[in-house]
Point group: C2
Chain length 368, copies 2
């Protein structure tokens, strides 16, 4: 194999596919990137068997062939090469020579046919959304997946299509995050669970431009994202997702309208007094026009008041401050509305059209 | 005590003195910042007994007094307060109340008189250099102090004054870094050893502006830096510094003139093939007009050629690539000159006036 690509194109391609290289594996071939120039385009592929990424790199094929090269060392070499044309040439002993200007690297490789190809997916239903929208919706929900593996379903996000809406849901047992998007067309009802890891990696690759589209296909076991000459294929998580509609309620006894930034900054300051792993709640005292926030720990105490608009009853309620911070950080509105029932019932932060709903369970506290 | 300062002034002051707060200590009082408003300026002080920093903060003293407050929590609180006036008030129970807008923190403190004051230094000889120059000279030498404590002298830098020059030297047994500065006046001969830690911390505080001065005083056991209403006092390292002049030589058999950036980038790329802790040398083959650099490891091999201007003999020599990188990174010249004797003798990188000299010992290698 002999190919020539610009350093910039190669670096971008390697960086894209490297997201699917596992950090730990017992199968050395998975630590490689496949350079495939057997046909008339240069393709790079990485695949950890759960998540596979393939991208095309512009360049010239002088001699067809393919090779699997250690992803870490290859990406580091490419990144540090001068900004010029890079020639990659392999010989029959699986030695790759990478040449750029007067720099010359020699690396041992593995045969390309040991590499496991991406599964071939039949493209059935396709939904198309902008890169910006997909990247945003991941950012706005990914923080509330569970990171333990004890309940696999919780480590993924529900993607649910209903006519012309896509609903994305994550939950971890203490809170639920829901975002609703409008699609351009109507589709059959469909529910799938996408691994959180896939979404985290894909959101790193997405350029996030509003005028670039991502095409999404589903099959029984896989989801495929296509954009920018890149294909991301991921296994889905098997199983039934939680029935979240039963957990949502539109009843409330107290409704609070508050400046989002003031609330976020105040909770952020309060968490200074909590050491890592310490489970001190922030106590919120909702009165007429004033919400008082209090926290107390071994380090000291803090209290602060924020002006609010309130409907309904007064309420004293405690929360894990991190859960409030996570939700408030991803809401772009200047003002938010909190809907509360009592000190034992969840708090809902949502907008009028329910384009977002953040449900947070309260915690017990000793009055301070 | 009751004082009022702007959040910005307070944050800057706390950040400055925090550099002298030890990360680990058995004396809890050393983890504190002293807020001293007993006289008519507000002073913050931190002191780990080796290094002490005091700075003045603009503000209003409403009630005189002083208090020692936990440095970490105080600096975090100040940093996250709204951008407005901050009131710090203490009561007879050593409780400090920090108020800013509607935020209100309550922190337990320690009595100020438990705090160990900075030593009082008689200001004898004073040398004055610009903040920029001091910051630069530290950056250009600090990387070659030794980080182990087995030879205390090596963990510091020699500051040697001779008439109107200041020579700053560091060495770690494999290399020596020397920078020479011209002073505005002539002084008596003086040699002191300044702890590396002091220099690292002071270079973080220095704004680095060329038109702001630092005044430096010495005593038998201390060095004092004064700038921007801040005083830094450090103990000196006791002992005799190495006689470095005996290690310097101006003889050479080979002299190479080379583009600094090309050489640095090439060595930088070569180190990709070396894993952390692996002691592979880079082999340099100096011929007429061409210098060839080679490295070989389990991961693969790399070679590259760079155009040079050479005087004298050809030479094949090996170096620890990190030592070359460290020296080249802090030389601002576009081209550098290397002076070599043979494969066992040190390499000197220096300019004509010897405003800098970097000595690097070669390493043995098996020809590859």
């Amino acid at each position: 194999m002999k190919i020539v690509c610009s350093k910039a194109n190669l670096a971008k391609g390697v960086s894209t596919v490297s997201k699917a290289v596992p950090s730990k594996t017992t199968m050395p071939i998975l630590e490689c990137v496949l350079i495939d120039a057997t046909l008339d385009v240069i393709k790079l592929t990485a695949n950890d068997m759960e998540l596979g990424i393939q991208t095309e790199v512009e360049g010239e094929i002088i001699e067809h062939g393919m090779i699997a090269i250690d992803a870490r060392i290859f990406s580091e070499i490419v990144r540090k090469l001068p900004d010029n044309d890079v020639v990659i040439e392999t010989d029959e002993n699986l030695q790759a020579t990478i040449t750029c200007e007067k720099a010359n690297f020699n690396i041992s490789c593995k045969p390309g046919d040991e590499f496991s190809y991406l599964p071939i997916i039949e493209k059935d239903t396709t939904i198309s959304i902008s890169q910006y929208t997909l990247k945003e919706v991941i950012r706005q929900t990914i923080f509330s997946i569970a990171d333990n593996e004890s309940n696999k379903v919780m480590t993924g996000e529900l993607f649910e299509i209903n006519q012309n809406t896509l609903r994305v849901v994550s939950l971890d047992g203490h809170r639920i995050s829901i975002r609703k998007l409008e699609l351009k067309e109507e589709y059959d009802h469909k529910k799938i669970i996408v691994p959180g890891k896939t979404l985290i990696e894909i959101s790193k690759i997405l350029s996030g431009e509003a005028d670039k589209e991502v095409c999404i296909y589903f099959t029984e076991n896989h989801i495929v994202f296509e954009f920018d000459r890149t294909v991301v294929v991921s296994r889905l998580i098997e199983g039934e997702y939680f029935r979240i509609d039963q957990m949502l309620s539109s009843d409330y006894e107290t409704k609070v309208r508050i400046n989002k930034k003031e609330l976020l900054n105040c909770i952020d300051r309060a968490t200074l007094l909590i050491k890592e792993g310490d489970k001190k709640p922030i106590i919120i005292n909702i009165g007429d026009e004033i919400m008082e926030l209090k926290i107390k720990s071994q380090l000291g105490s803090m209290n602060e008041e924020i002006f609010i608009t309130k409907e309904g009853k007064d309420l004293l309620i405690g929360f894990n401050p991190k859960f409030l911070i996570d939700a408030l950080r991803v809401i772009d509105d200047e003002e938010v509305e909190l809907y509360l029932m009592n000190a034992k019932a969840p708090c809902f932060i949502k907008d009028e059209t329910e384009s977002y709903i953040y449900l947070i369970l309260p915690v017990n506290f000793n009055s301070i």
